[in-house]
């Protein structure tokens, strides 16, 4: 009964925030609207049915799903880490038998889940019903790649958050920069395949495309068969690399805190 | 004839607040309930007075101050500060008043104190020599020279209130409003501020209105006290008036030479409240017994070392008034 009350309180709180809940959705919808018109104009201007391997409907699907995947990257962990440093709460973690990166992982995950429920599912349902976008050909593989993408992004965010430990400044600018670079280099805003080859080559060497590009291409069926597993390996590779870097950074930070006393 | 500098006539303020019922009901209809924060307040304050406004929390003190400073409009009656209606001519009124809120600084958080003062000089168009003169005076009395180069956000509470006080008076306003200025301060800081306020009230004839919960402030600073409760003015008079009217219980401390049996002290209207060896604390109800009569009786009956008459505790008096009304 107690937990039911907690649930009720949560609902009440959500209603209080209902306007803000809608604004996030509205903003995403407006963005998609602009892109819908823009790409239609592009296809019309080109006179082609297919640009870069995309038909107009495939492009729209791509952009909608990209919009749905965005909440994956909504982690506030950078801000929480910054506040941990500022308030000194970070020292508390040193006394507990808990790994800080893992703690932040689970805490951040609940935030993500909330965003998925409030933002993604509505967009997704609306898109399927109204615009009739196609469902993924490989649902299972798609979900696996999304799952892996989450971790790639998480460790990237963690490293970004580490900035708070090693510099005096605020984290806001770095986080925004990271987000934009991710948006561009991951194909979230413009499919990577449309960029010149040299750009694609650089992007392939970076972890960002493991966050959006891979899941998106799996969804629309541009990555099939054995290539899917190759993509998974890429994602896992980045998880390991970024994860280790995070661990190393955390250890370094730990030492610094112990020496400086928080 | 000293001019009336602040006037409130039948001042009333009613708030409409949403009655929050269940979520579902709220979606369909809005129910308002009316809250009377001020009810027919009539006050006249003359130039140079030092008035304390006290009352229990939620009594309407802040509402009154907000109307007088121009940031709230009344729903009935009117108020005039130096012949200007503050909530109608806000900018003009601002030039005539200084304001210090104990809980929030008026200085710019990120700036150095002296930069804030410079900004004020420009905002109020204070002539340079007047500005320098005032600043010098305030720096000396309030002892804030060492904080001038600090950012405001780095000041402690006591330092900040002192800097705020200086800031509020740079433009030589004839009226100063203080809302809980000594809250949270230590004894030394409180005394500094009280001394400062007394000085400018006497020397510069600044009319000062102070709201406070600190009785020490009231006793030391105010000649006149206005008590507001539930939006109504329930008392308006000098401290002595209040003590005489309401100070019905006086305590005397008698140091007897020899031990005394307390039963012998059972006079009418006299109660023994504490015994420390030969020292006896007696509480006398001045409604039923005369203070001088009781003392005469004690002196005539027993040899004593010393007698002390305690001043009526204004705090107790006020507390009783809050509790029981007039």
């Amino acid at each position: 009964m107690k937990y039911f009350n907690v649930f009720l309180t949560g609902i009440k709180e959500t209603i209080v925030y209902r306007a803000e809940f809608f604004s996030g959705l509205l903003a995403a919808f407006l963005n998609l609207l602009v892109l819908w018109f823009a790409w239609n104009a592009v296809f019309a201007a080109s006179g082609l049915q297919v640009i870069g391997g995309f038909t107009i409907s495939l492009m729209i699907t791509y952009l909608i799903i990209s919009s749905c995947l965005r909440p994956l990257t909504y982690t506030d962990i950078e801000y929480e880490m910054e506040s941990d440093v500022r308030t000194g709460g970070i020292s508390v973690f040193l006394t507990k038998p808990v790994s800080y990166p893992l703690f932040r992982l689970f805490k951040g995950f609940s935030n993500t889940v909330f965003h998925i429920i409030t933002n993604v599912i509505p967009i997704f349902l609306v898109s399927i019903l109204l615009i009739k976008i196609s469902l993924p050909l490989n649902v299972v593989f798609f979900l696996i790649s999304v799952f892996l993408a989450y971790f790639v992004n998480y460790f990237l965010a963690f490293l970004t958050g580490m900035w708070a430990f090693f510099s005096v400044g605020s984290i806001w600018g770095i986080k925004l920069s990271k987000q934009i670079v991710t948006d561009i280099m991951s194909g979230a805003v413009i499919p990577l395949v449309l960029f010149p080859q040299w750009f694609i080559n650089i992007a392939n060497l970076l972890p960002f495309q493991a966050i959006f590009n891979i899941p998106l291409l799996i969804y629309i069926g541009k990555i099939v068969g054995i290539d899917i597993f190759y993509s998974f390996i890429q994602q896992i590779f980045w998880i390991l690399v970024l994860g280790s870097l995070s661990y190393v950074a955390w250890k370094r930070a730990e030492k610094k805190i112990v020496v400086q006393g928080g | 004839m000293v001019e009336t500098i602040i006037e409130a006539k039948n001042l009333g303020k009613e708030f409409k607040t949403l009655k929050r019922e269940s979520i579902v009901k709220d979606l369909f209809s809005r129910n308002y309930k009316k809250l009377k924060a001020l009810d027919k307040i009539n006050i006249e304050i003359k130039k140079g007075e030092f008035v304390g406004i006290i009352g229990p929390n939620g009594a309407g003190k802040s509402t009154l101050i907000k109307i007088l400073t121009g940031i709230l409009t009344p729903t009935s009656g009117y108020a005039k500060v130096k012949d200007i209606i503050p909530y109608e001519k806000r900018k003009e009124n601002a030039k005539n008043i200084g304001v210090v809120f104990g809980w929030r600084t008026q200085l710019w958080w990120d700036l150095l104190v002296k930069d804030s003062y410079d900004l004020i000089k420009h905002l109020y168009k204070i002539p340079e020599d007047r500005f320098k003169e005032n600043l010098e005076t305030f720096i000396t009395i309030l002892d804030i020279d060492k904080y001038l180069k600090n950012p405001v956000r780095k000041l402690s509470l006591g330092e900040r209130v002192r800097c705020d006080l200086a800031a509020s008076l740079l433009h030589d306003p004839p009226i100063l409003f203080l809302d809980e200025p000594t809250i949270g301060l230590d004894v030394v800081a409180k005394q500094q501020i009280r001394d400062f306020l007394t000085k400018i009230n006497k020397e510069k004839e600044v009319t000062i209105i102070i709201t406070t919960h600190d009785m020490g402030d009231i006793e030391e600073l105010c000649q006149r006290v206005i008590i507001i409760d539930k939006g109504k003015k329930i008392l308006d008079g000098s401290i002595d008036d209040i003590k005489n009217k309401f100070g019905t219980k006086r305590v005397i401390i008698v140091d007897f030479q020899d031990p005394i049996d307390r039963k012998k002290l059972k006079f009418k209207g006299v109660k023994t409240i504490e015994i420390e060896g030969n020292r006896i604390f007696l509480e006398i109800n001045t409604k039923t017994a005369s203070l001088s009569d009781v003392i005469k009786k004690i002196l005539s009956k027993w040899p004593i070392h010393d007698i002390k008459i305690e001043e009526p505790d204004i705090e107790d008096i006020i507390r009783k008034i809050y509790r029981d009304g007039i």
């Binding site: 803000e20 407006l30 934009i180 960029f195 | 409009t73």
Partner: protein, 261 residues
């Protein structure tokens, strides 16, 4: 009054230099946000020669006017925002604004200079400069006056919309959501309005006149279509919008002082 503004600028610069890393990082981050639409056009024009009759440089010109105007607003005039008004009301600072012998709207607008806006300003200038160079626009005296008026009007439009959104805070305290919608709305004018359907064009012209920020003025400069004199409309629209927002603001303050906080 100008003295006060100079003082504030000095003090702000002092503060930025104190946190130099934040200063540069912030500007860079904001600068990057302007890159996305440029990249979009760059990528798209690998595939198509023109978009709805607009060439690459013409589109950059469109972006440039918008971003430059936005940058000016962001840096110098963004003091009134729903976020800030809400914060001031909550922590009581708004009352202090009213206690000063100074117009509160002016105090807010002029008193808050945002160094981050320099990222928008620099990006906008670069894009506009590059585009007008590539388009070989002749900067005759008339054109110079025109561009100044255009940007003046565009800045006023942006300012007015922000004031209107902020005014909503006086009635509905949690109006932060409104500013969240502003960013995607501004994205609409990254593209020439003719790509949209008539309803949207109508909204962006007569309801929320964002079109006058860059689309209509661009028509004049680029010699496009029937709207030869549309650039002159922009400052007019700007002034009208500002007038409306000022009235709304006054109304909002009246409401605030009668309901307290």
């Amino acid at each position: 009054m100008f003295q006060i503004w100079k003082q504030l600028v000095k003090m702000n610069v002092k503060r930025w230099m104190e946190y130099r890393i934040d200063f540069f990082v912030g500007i860079t981050a904001i600068f990057l946000t302007n890159v996305i639409s440029v990249l979009f056009f760059w990528v798209v024009f690998q595939q198509v020669p023109s978009l709805n009759g607009w060439t690459f440089n013409q589109l950059l010109f469109l972006l440039g006017i918008s971003y430059l105007s936005f940058g000016i607003w962001h840096t110098f005039l963004s003091g009134i925002s729903p976020h800030r008004i809400e914060r001031y009301i909550r922590n009581g600072e708004f009352d202090f604004l009213l206690l000063r012998p100074f117009n509160p709207m002016l105090a807010l607008i002029l008193g808050n200079i945002d160094d981050d806006g320099l990222g928008d300003l620099i990006a906008g200038t670069m894009i506009l400069g590059y585009a007008s160079n590539m388009l070989a626009i002749s900067w005759t005296f008339q054109n110079i006056i025109l561009i100044i008026l255009t940007i003046f009007g565009a800045v006023l439009i942006i300012l007015s919309i922000n004031i209107l959104m902020s005014t909503a805070t006086f009635w509905i305290i949690r109006s932060r959501m409104l500013s969240e919608i502003l960013w995607p709305l501004m994205r609409f004018i990254d593209f020439p309005l003719d790509i949209y359907n008539p309803i949207i064009i109508f909204i962006l012209t007569f309801v929320l006149p964002l079109g006058f920020i860059n689309y209509y003025p661009a028509q004049t400069f680029l010699g496009k279509g029937v709207w030869k004199f549309s650039a002159y409309l922009t400052p007019v629209v700007g002034l009208i919008m500002f007038f409306i927002s000022y009235i709304a603001w006054r109304y909002g303050i009246k409401n605030y002082t009668s309901t307290g906080s």
